[in-house]
Amino acid sequence: MSVNVQIKKKLDSFLLDISFQSDSRRIGILGASGCGKSMTLKSIAGIEIPDEGRIEVEGRVLFDREQKINLKPQKRNVGYLFQNYALFPTMTVEKNIAAGLQGSRGENEKRVREMIEKFQLSGLEKRLPGQLSGGQQQRAALARIMAYEPDVILLDEPFSALDMYLKDQLQQELLQMLEDYEGTVIMVSHNRDEVYRFSEELLIIEEGRNIVSGRTKELFQNPVKREAARLTGCKNFSRVHRVDAYTAEALDWGIAIHTKRQIPEDTKWFGYRAHDFVPVWGERKENMLKVAVKSSAVLPFERNYYLWPEKMPEHASGDSESTVESQLSGGYAECRQEVCWFVQREKLEELDKRGLPDYLKLREEKLLFLE
């Protein structure tokens, strides 16, 4: 099992330049809308043709510009699950499943039966896609792909059009259905929860380039790049003025940070997830942020606070304050946004009892060092 993709393609607003390889069976591609992730999938499927590069799947070369190889989509043996499932609207479920089968009539019928049973579509064979629920449509679309026995299955934002309740249900269903599939599955999404749940290995794309890749869990713990951290859901960022290997000023938060870990020299940003703050009542210690609420939002199971950042504390080196000010006024002002603090239900009780905390503690091990 392996996928090796190196492609370049000129798009309207940027150059798509993706290169990744993986032996993992479940690969996730995370990126904002319009970053080129769908284009990458379409290139693998042969729907779009890259300007340059090479695509190899399971040891089979699907595309190689230099060797002038460009298999037709029909010959690539790649299954593609579209966001809207793209079931043929005038064909019944069984005709949809049989649509791509090349075998004899008897073989095809047998295959269709198998798929209908496997994907719990019994009783729906004669229905048209318009008469199916969202979940049934997903199953039918997947049955149609699986009937064709593809080497790879590509999932193109399969859940982004669904409401929250259905989304969770269908995600679980899809994961179960794909469980015994031997081949590689690549899922593209802009939703961090989806890719986290699904993929073993993750590729993060921004503006047509893959900025980081690696094991999914590790990438969420250490996203390395600021943009990658943002896509994995990190809300708070601050520019870093590194004083020494264990001390730095977080310019946008207005506090000094002391660490036991060495701060790498190329660290340009600190990142801190909104859920990771620890409320502190009473005395101020190291790595704390004074709570000054700018606004708040109440959600069913959570409360979001948006806090003002602090001014640099007195003990920061004398001339740094002026540099901070000049930097802040010099076009960086928009970076100086509020700090997000999200409090989950378990902690809310304490908050309601004791009132707003005086400080928020940044746990050192949760602090992200980013480029």
Binding site: F82, A86, F88, L128
Partner: protein, 234 residues
């Protein structure tokens, strides 16, 4: 009333059959040509699209007599193509039933083509991509996915084409003329009897045309209405 019965009894029915025959044949030709042209145009690059679309739609916008003029230029036996067709294949277009069919086809074709094209352009491209990744050939995708999905548009195109071909007058009168029993269509018959001031006979033919037109449209709506059960009702 008696007068009408008398006329009906003596009525020479050939215009009805000529018109129907012409309408059916012209519709069949337009159906396939229109779908074929629509497919080509949908796939073409924007520049090409504009030019080809313009040429194909022209017969609909021009006065039928202008189309008739060009058809005469093409098929007259005093012209190279007309002479060639006659010499080689013994094809006579001018003043023949073939002329009726060609005139009706040329005039009615744009309706078929435009409706088919509009319906095809509405189709979700993902359906085509899905077909390709499932290993379906482009021809199979076209006939099994695109044409059925564009069904309602194609059906309405067919109805309009038939209705237009059935009533064609201008180009037909120029190319095929009005030879009773041969090229005399209902429209031409009506025009002819009106010139004689025979409003009663003209009225009967008008009624015939209206009944046919209504029946066809009603029938087609019924058929497509049954097939399109899953299409929402407003």
């Amino acid at each position: 009333m008696e007068e009408i019965m008398q006329i009906l009894k003596e009525l020479e029915w050939s215009p009805l059959f000529i018109s129907l025959k012409t309408g059916v044949v012209a519709t069949i030709i337009s159906f396939f040509l229109g779908i074929f042209a629509a497919r080509k145009v949908v796939k073409a690059s924007p520049g090409k699209k504009a030019v080809i679309d313009g040429i194909l739609t022209l017969p609909m916008v021009l006065p039928p007599t202008v189309a008739g003029f060009f058809l005469l230029l093409l098929f007259s036996r005093r012209r190279p193509l007309g002479e060639f067709l006659f010499q080689e294949f013994n094809f006579k277009v001018v003043q023949t039933w073939l002329g009726c069919v060609i005139a009706a086809t040329v005039i009615a074709f744009p309706l078929m083509y435009r409706n088919a094209r509009a319906a095809m352009e509405q189709i979700d491209v993902n359906l085509i991509y899905a077909g390709r990744t499932l290993g379906m050939s482009d021809t199979k995708i076209f006939w099994k996915v695109i044409v059925p999905t564009a069904g309602p548009g194609i059906a309405s195109g067919t109805i309009l084409t038939f209705a237009r071909a059935l009533g064609e007058y201008g180009a037909t009168s120029m190319l095929a003329g009005n030879i009773p029993g041969k090229t005399g269509t209902i429209s031409q018959k009506i025009a002819m009897v009106i010139q004689d001031g025979d409003y009663l006979t003209a009225g009967i033919w008008v009624a015939v045309v209206m009944i046919i037109a209504f029946a066809v449209i009603f029938l087609m709506n019924l058929i497509s209405g049954k097939k399109m059960k899953n299409v929402g009702r407003w």
